[in-house]
Amino acid sequence: MTVEGPISLGLDDTQPVRIDDTQPVRIDDTGTYPAYSAPVIDIEDVHKLYRTGSLEVAALRGVSLTIAAGEYVALMGPSGSGKSTLMHILGCLDVPTSGSYRLAGEDVSAMTEIELAEVRNRRIGFVFQQFNLLASLPAWRNVELPLVYAGVDRSTRKQRALAALDRVGMGDRVEHRPGELSGGQQQRVALARAVVTDPALILADEPTGNLDSASAREVLDLLAELHDSGRTVVLITHDAEVAETTSRTLRIRDGQILGASSASVTGGVA
């Protein structure tokens, strides 16, 4: 069964999303999302200050960056460089101290908490280093969680969750709880959860950090596949090898993006 044409996920009717129930993450291969004319990420002069007692730490010092729809970008830097802070701000999990952030054309910096929750729900898919699956729920119930918060009805949710699990090769383990799955399998469930809402942006924070190299390879292959099918993927890593699998690498150090960030280099390290 294929549903074609603009279907409303309830947030913004100006952006039609095509949903194919059997293969919910496949978007036509014409390159970028035709619907997004604006870049997926457009941040300008973003600062983030942390205050611990009298001590003030500047985690980000004037970061500006643009990521176009359909790009596969690695954010790379050593620990303490501010890459995690940047990722949290990109994921609307945290708000910048100053600067502007437009996500898929929407000004996120001016949003309320409730609006941000909606943006996270519909625009962003998260993949965490710790997987962050709920241990009490079977795989498919973990995958359907974002759809629960989106208010999608039950049968549609299950259908889409199962399809997303199938897509990441976990179709035969939908009833398994996270504890019964290997790390690689858990991360694949998390990937299915990230794509189940058809988000504009997939944010992966050290997705291979807790995996052995074989599982890491599988997960990176899946991310590459998602990119190939037209997704915008931002991957945070400290591992140059992982960064090499992306089409553009942004290096971050001491809260600033290092040079060459504007040059888009395909298949190489910037």
Partner: protein, 410 residues
Amino acid sequence: MNLVETFRTGLEAVVSHRLRSSLTVLGIMIGITAVILTVGLGEGAQQQVGSEISSLGANLLIVSPGSSTSSAGIRGGSGSASTLTVANSDVLASKTVAPDIAGVAPVVSASESLTEGTTNWTTTVVGSNASWLTVRGRTMAEGRFISGHDVQTHAAVVVLAPTTASELFGGRDPVGQTVDVAGTPMSVIGVLTAEGSSATSNVDDQAIIPMTTAATRIIGGTSRNQLSSIYVEATGSKTLSAAYQETDRALLNLHGITTATGADFTITSQQSLLATATSVDKTLTVLLAGIAGISLLVGGIGVMNIMLVSVTERIREIGLRKALGATPRVIRRQFLVEASVLGLVGGMLGAILGLAGAIILPHFISNPIAISGAAIAGSIAIAIAIGVAFGVYPASRAARLAPIDALRSE
């Protein structure tokens, strides 16, 4: 996220944390059981005293000769003078004088020896009229009570209370037999139903004869028209005070007394006895409820502790749910459902346990336990309130955290 989903999520959380949930439920359950049982004990005692007093006769006024309130120094205490007469009692029985009085039972009483064959038994012999039975709220176990005709004809008949009957006749049927009352043979026409003894008198050990018979054959002499007391029954509990006024006014008139303080009789009501007794028992109930309330509070603090820990250990879950799009309101509602379910289940189980205790315990202890609907409903409401107050507060704090702070917490 709609309400059904919120409920499902909340219930799942309750089920998936079995140990924690059952500890919470246990804490609430014990508190509720304690409340229901202690309040029940207090109310049971109250009802017991109430029923003992009302067993003396409902809506009853007792007029005794003499005044207990006089400060004149001449008059004796209540019951020490003989100022009530049969004529007084006849006036009170008149509907025109006292429309709110349903029945009047004049009473003369004396302690006399009853003999049946070789058995004798000394008890209170009460002379009264046909109204005595209803005014005192008694019923017949067998036979009949004294009739108006018996009173008119000075009939030599006697009605025995059950203890008296069994003392004299053992297991035999006394009705139709003859008993010597103070030397006068009288035929037994009926036996009263057992009422149970109260603290002040044994109402199951007495013999009732027509008052005319008592006046002429037992008491005799000049005091034959004097009464020990007059029992007055009001038409209802609402007219009791009207009946009191009418009795008071009529007797003051008959005795030619103009001031209330000069009264040579005393009227007491069962209501005033009841009020004194129940106020004592109310104090007991309040005390017991206070103790139960403290146990509920201690249970509540336990619940708060468990809830605080549970929310703290689930901050990561809250962070994840927020990252996936849950609004603070949705998070709060999830915990609200969890806490209310725990409170409700604990409250219900406590109510069931309390009810079971109220049914089983009186078999082992002598005190009755009254089951109070208000105590059950109230304590379940308190249980839910405890769960909600102590569970939702930490959850709503967690829900306000920035998702990343919640996700980062270990």
